[in-house]
Symmetry: C2
Subunit: 254 residues, 2 copies
């Protein structure tokens, strides 16, 4: 039996790590760390620094694997889902090879998952594929999500009293507009400033990039006023750092 | 200036605490802990045990305060909001008195917030009231939410690929039915098994109570099959422990 622990590590602040996360990393025989060539957005260095800071078990080994490249984005939603599925298949294949090489019979693996394994993350789906090939037990250690890092940094509640919140993606916001059943919308996986597709009257935005990291950027205010500043800051920061991760909350007056 | 740190502590597993949370508690002059008479659901003992386990600063003091009683639930949503507002006013009044007594001029306060301060929690709104009365700086330390503890315990993703999720309350689910814009709905603050008001065909449920605690209960499956078991387990567990906290995820086939 292989035990695979998916450890949520939060959003770039090493102090987001929980005691449970530290224990799971120290219980692992092997910690798998992804690399995407020389892409800074793979955050391999941050994952390695985090392991160096908290892993004290001398028998725990770090093993790197190269992330396959995903087919470039396709506007057709059906094609998009198929491309994501093929990508997950390819990653599962690579994990399988690493497990056979490093933990051939039984043992404990850990993967450091950005944010929390439950939220817009593919690790659980990839692990599901592995279950078809080997005796695998998957456990999840919750971590701080980008949404919590965002609301925490702005010191705001996610929801209004007794009110719902919809979490969605930039792509969905562009294609479907404001979700029908909530006046608060949290947007993730948005590389295209999709808030520009929303009518800004009566809408406030709370935006954050590099949340939890020293580079953290925050902007908030009426969408009409703040949107151009976000677009500009995002462009400047992305150029300066070579990558960006950001998320935002939209709330409309009721 | 008074600095108030709202520290998310997760859902009852002391190991949900982050390094950032431990640091914030140790930086505090005073940690405020609520008590609700002899109500076990105040979890005062758990908060005290948590402080005893991680607070090593000898100058940090624990100060208790009595939570006021909220007017009993009213079916009229307008009355409900007013009752919640009066309750928050009353709590702000009590915090103010404790601050004047224990940190009269300047200093650092911390409050241990169940889950995360952003999600269906009133602490940020109460702190906002205090800002009208004294020079107060509020910071938030994110914590693991019940939703993450739920998806983590079931080892499932919250969202489908590129799909939205609506987080709502039991009351909203009863009054408004299934939210229009998402096939995944996370339900919180539900003391009435409101999933019984949903047509169960094609719907799966993942339910959890006492998440992260030794008493943790989990049930999942087709809503039609599992709903009666949840109602029964909930009743039995509540009678046995004197209180219950639970949450669940509903997903309908697309």
């Amino acid at each position: 039996m292989i035990e695979l622990s998916l450890v949520g590590i939060g959003t770039g602040n090493p102090d987001h790590l929980t005691h449970q996360g530290v224990a799971a990393l120290n219980a692992a025989d092997v910690i798998l760390i992804p690399r995407k060539g020389d892409n800074k957005a793979d955050l391999a260095e941050l994952r390695e620094a985090l392991c160096a800071a908290v892993v004290s078990n001398p028998t725990t080994r770090i093993v790197h694997f190269d992330m396959p490249v995903r087919d470039s984005a396709d506007a057709n939603p059906a094609h998009y889902a198929a491309a994501v599925n093929r990508w997950h298949d390819a990653i599962a294949e690579i994990w399988h090879a690493k497990i056979r090489a490093h933990v051939p019979h039984e043992g404990k693996l850990a993967l450091l998952v950005w944010g929390d394994p439950s939220l817009y993350d593919s690790t659980l789906r990839i692990a599901q594929r592995l279950k078809l090939r080997l005796a695998l037990q998957v456990s999840v250690v919750p971590g701080i999500t980008a949404l919590q890092a965002l609301t925490g940094a702005h010191a705001i509640p996610l929801n209004d009293i007794n009110a719902p919140v919809t979490i969605t993606t930039g792509r969905r916001l562009r294609e479907h507009g404001w979700p029908a059943s909530a006046d608060t919308v949290a947007v993730m996986l948005d590389g295209e400033c999709s808030f520009r597709h929303i009518k800004p009257a009566g809408v406030r935005i709370w935006w954050g990039a590099y949340l939890g990291m020293p580079e953290q950027l925050l902007l908030s205010g009426p969408l009409a006023d703040v949107a151009p500043h976000i677009v500009q800051q995002r462009q400047t920061a992305r150029a300066a750092h070579g990558w960006i991760m950001d998320t935002y909350l939209l709330r409309r007056a009721t």
